[in-house]
Symmetry: C2
Subunit: 133 residues, 2 copies
């Protein structure tokens, strides 16, 4: 496989990683995601890794970098479905992914992104309020 498909659902993108990603495939996914974010209004990206048995330090770094890139492009990345064994391995490798948002599954990740976007769209409470005399 040369490309991992990116699905669009409204203003969200969904990527299901099903194969153990070799390095070039991971970088291709990163490029494709950045292009997809810019090509149409995109507020969030869900990356489902529930099928992955192994996430090595390179892939961990790609996930963290992708999240940072999307953030600069004004989209929030949520990585969903990480297996417990993968989390254990990542921490043992010294990768705690502090700036990557995680969620249990696609449903929870989607709820998070919807609430996140709603809170961004809502006008700030402090703006325009009148201070009582």
């Amino acid at each position: 496989m040369d490309r991992i498909p990116i699905l669009r659902i409204g203003d969200l993108l969904l990527v299901t990683v099903q194969v153990d990603m070799h390095d070039r495939l991971a970088l291709a996914l990163q490029d494709d995601l950045c292009l997809a974010i810019c090509s149409r209004d995109t507020r969030g990206v869900l990356i489902d890794i529930s099928a992955l048995d192994v996430v090595d330090s390179f892939i961990g770094r790609v996930l963290a970098d992708t999240s940072a890139m999307a953030s600069i492009l004004n989209a929030q990345v949520v990585v969903v479905g990480m297996r417990p064994a993968v989390a254990i391995t990542l921490v043992e490798l010294g990768m705690t992914l502090p700036h990557v948002t995680m969620a249990l599954n696609v449903e929870r990740g989607m709820d998070f992104l919807r609430n996140h976007n709603r809170s961004l769209d809502a006008p700030s409470e402090s703006a325009g309020t009148l201070v009582p005399a």
Copy 2:
């Protein structure tokens, strides 16, 4: 890969087929989908095949059978993202998939399922209307 992951989004299931399915994998997906439909309230199933270059007659039949099984289990299957070349090959193989619902992409498929479910939920117009005297 031994299993294709099935993602749940509310009362919909989403399957992204990314590898050329050998026969056992296709039958395993069929079993898993039927189990997933029964395990929780499921109204629709989206099967994305945009990554597939080839759909042979066996896989075509599995798609048709899965759609029929889901229908008996009260869920609507929509196959999305079929490439033009795949459609051409299927018809040349003599498979027109008359009872399988198709959609251009996941977004359109999801819209279709939402409208479909809404129309099922809405009370029939003829029921309970008063005939003017």
